[in-house]
Symmetry: C2
Amino acid sequence: MSFENKYDKAKSDFEAVLYRFADGISAPRTLKDAMLYALKSGGKRLRPVMLIEACRLFSEPDERVFKMAVAVECIHTYSLIHDDLPAMDNDDFRRGKPTVHRIFGEGMAVLAGDALLNLAYEILMALAGEGKEFVRAGAIIADACGSAGLIGGQSLDICDEMPDKSAMEYIYRHKTGDLITAAITAGAAAGGADEEQFGRLRVYGENFGMAFQLTDDLLDKDEDKRSFVGMFGEQAARAAVAAGVAAAVEQAEALGADAGFFADLAKKTADRKF
Amino acid sequence: MSFENKYDKAKSDFEAVLYRFADGISAPRTLKDAMLYALKSGGKRLRPVMLIEACRLFSEPDERVFKMAVAVECIHTYSLIHDDLPAMDNDDFRRGKPTVHRIFGEGMAVLAGDALLNLAYEILMALAGEGKEFVRAGAIIADACGSAGLIGGQSLDICDEMPDKSAMEYIYRHKTGDLITAAITAGAAAGGADEEQFGRLRVYGENFGMAFQLTDDLLDKDEDKRSFVGMFGEQAARAAVAAGVAAAVEQAEALGADAGFFADLAKKTADRKF
């Protein structure tokens, strides 16, 4: 199966589970509408696909692993809703559609984000009863998304001061990289990776995450936004993407032929051919 | 020991753990400042005290139970930060001090709330490795705080339409009652309550929560706010408080002399003598 076919199959398998799960959410009507609007607004489903495929390196992903992937997508979705708020990035559109607060109002957007974040942990706490590999995976995800991870990165990004190079790297590493790395390593933990395999996938995730975010910058035409590209120029950003991809591919190749999906994913991230 | 002494001891023991834990939070400076400002702004610490005392009915609360209480207080604190936002209740003061968004700005207030919610689950996922009673307690808390619980209640509260009686009861039950009930039942689960004891504490929590919120209404002089009192009058509210207290006391008394703390707490809630 080609990389593209494998990606698309994992994505559509995941979306089938996500949509079924989302329709079953118990919530007052408007809140549920806002949650579903965000969850069903498309996107690459990159993090859940990485989680599912990381698990598959070691064992066949079952319904529980797909639910864990739903939790990760809920967290990603909440972070986008809150990032788009007027008090943060103040974005009116995402993926070509009005943002949640434009449709449902700011208060409901805050709550829909809160509800999706909490929902992720409703899922992960329920899975924690399935065994210690699920407890470990849940803890990996929680630790990646907190004040020393995703939220910490976002908090520096909205500060008034212009970040220096180390602050910029902190933002990229945590705001984007930590949830990607957590998705891969949580999938690996659930699948039964040994410590060496787990460590390789962690290093893969860190390098992939940096290359992925820098590629986003390079594709982004909005020059007002402060970014690595804006601060250090396109050439430096392209060099950093290449370095990140090379380091990620090296880890994937060391994991053997089964990890070809991850080697391909890293190679294709520079031109977003997936 | 008198009820007041017992309450104050549990509260100060809890705050010692909370403050030590809070100082150890890893986060960029401004984000951490905002989290600590909220966590250290006082309050009754009612939910953690209830959790710790519910555990004590069955076994001595250890460091892990105090950490679980910290998680519950993080959730309560996040919910207040987000409720106070301009897009929600738009409150400038809480407990006599400026609200988080007045000091740190709206964006940082959203993130500080997000970080405290996530921190609660960092704690609970770490505790999940301690055994199935902690997994159960964590799931109780997560389920109480989601779109069918605390956030669901808040979402109805910010809707434009004037709520009818059933919507008003939904708001009170979920926005206020669910986290109180979860705190008690999570403490009971961690302490090793049997199913009958657990069930009695759940019914206690539901009735206590309703009486507690109605008392808040009765004490609240802000007549602009829609509330049970505003809709149905003071007499109906006082009758509902009395009914809730009586039902809660009945459950506490059925649990025996050790549960005297909970009987006293319910009796005193009507005049907030604690």
